[in-house]
Symmetry: C2
């Protein structure tokens, strides 16, 4: 892990079978397709319904990926948990599987907690895992977790664990926050949480992006990452943003699953675990129309 | 479980040892003292730092209580979890241990979820546990979970599972919401989440209360529950409220632990798991002064 992971990563959506169990066949197939599109695997993210998976299920999927020979150094599993022992267990498992890094939510049950308390949590995880291979990416997603990762907390963690605190996913949706991180920290890789900020991010030193819609549109996002200094970059950014916004008219996670289902003629892909609900028939039909307007395809993505 | 649990319950605070592991000795001692004060055990509540405990730790503590011969039909363990399989596992374990009921948070990671999604979650838990002994108390605590349990959701659940949906803990802190629940539903036991609403609650048919400060002040709260029709009830309610507000000047969970530590000359009781932090020295000294002003004691509460 001497070279830190960069580029476009997808918080891989998790398919479920009729009994609402993780469907490993469909999941591996999606992981493989994403890798074929040069897209890294941020498995167990918000869009993966990771917090709707048990710790045992997340470990089972991680093992499934490793056993299937997926490139674990293109993986950044989410290993955050409200309970310290579970965050330690998941993080250790990811490191031992050879993951490029882990993406870690703060503990998100209690609200209004202090930076001292959050520092203690991350610090305990790092010390208990006790493995020099650990690359920890913080996960700032205040709209969902409601517990922010402040700039001051990042600074304290970087000072205490400079080799381990590797970067952040910023899903605040607030460019001024992303820019503040890019301006303030060194040796700290910032991934905006949406491709909407990819070009602006790269111009200010971002490491790539980790975006929900990379589940379905990874090729075009990766192309911009690769050639962002080209003359037509702004135009391509605008097109990526236009597609993103079109998808975001729908509830994001069910919409991504519906798009995969529509693209592979496999409507069962649309299943979600409660408390999320799949798109209804009208939403699905409207989404199909939206995709047509974009001449949208998932090149090479076949069923299963 | 023909008679539903009533009265005053305490979300039992969880002591930790120097390595931040649950301290079963101190925990059992606290559980036993609460039972001696006629206080029921809402173990694994918000004030128990339950979401900072792993599923394995919660199961271990539940077994410890059962093995120690604690009266499980005075228990209402918290069994909510973001992940359906974990909510099922914890709920099943509680039912099998003979708990009077379970107190269940909605899945709390995703925000703005629909009542359809929450209904599906609770419904799946009930059907997968599949045990007629299950008495499920919903847990409405919007300031922390940020995912509310609406009146309409309660109605749908009561219609679908009338024998199983047993009641609610309302920690909204909003009396009008508590009163709306009391007015609207039958065969549905409402426990306000603070003794501040105990007397008003009982006057409108509440089943008791489940309150943080019952960890330290259970006797006086239970006394009001028992004799709330007496002439001095309003006066005693005012005194309970005055004490509650004095404690609530401090961060509640660390303050409760500090009070137990001060009352048993055992400062190690003050430990919390991250992201919570113990009271600092100044806070502890001020809290000790506050307790003196109230001539506060925990009768019969000895060390360990």
């Amino acid at each position: 892990m001497s070279d830190k992971i960069r580029g476009v990563l997808s918080p891989v959506v998790t398919p479920f079978d009729a009994d609402l169990q993780p469907d490993t066949t469909r999941w591996l197939s999606h992981c493989r397709w994403l890798l074929s599109q040069e897209c890294g695997l941020a498995i167990f993210g918000t869009n993966s319904e990771a917090n709707s998976l048990s710790v045992a299920e997340r470990r089972m999927l991680l093992e499934t990926a490793a056993d299937a020979g997926l490139d674990t150094d293109r993986m950044m599993p989410g290993t955050g948990a409200c309970a310290l022992p579970e965050a330690v267990e998941l993080t250790r498992a990811a490191v031992e599987a050879g993951a490029a890094g882990v993406l870690m939510l703060p503990p998100f049950y209690y609200k209004g907690v202090s930076d001292d308390g959050l520092f203690a949590h991350f610090s305990e995880v790092i010390e208990r895992v006790g493995d020099a291979r650990l690359r920890l990416y913080l996960y700032h997603i205040p709209p969902v977790a409601q517990v922010p990762v402040s700039l001051d907390l990042i600074e304290r963690l970087l000072d205490a664990y400079p080799g381990t605190i590797a970067g952040i996913k910023d899903s605040s949706g607030d460019w001024s926050n992303t820019k503040a991180m890019l301006d303030r920290f060194e040796n700290f890789d910032v991934f905006p949480g949406s491709e909407e900020f990819l070009l602006e991010g790269l111009r200010h030193g971002a490491a790539g992006c980790i975006s929900a819609t990379a589940n379905v549109n990874p090729g075009a996002i990766h192309a911009l990452f690769e050639t962002w200094t080209a003359g037509d970059a702004d135009e391509r950014q605008a097109e990526l943003t236009r597609f993103r916004k079109a998808v975001a008219q729908y509830p994001m996670i069910p919409a991504l699953k519906a798009i995969i289902g529509l693209s592979t003629d496999d409507p069962d892909w649309g299943r979600t675990r409660p408390p999320l609900v799949p798109l209804d028939e009208t939403q699905r039909a409207n989404l199909a129309e939206t995709l047509k307007e974009f001449d949208f395809t998932m090149p090479g993505r076949t069923a299963a």
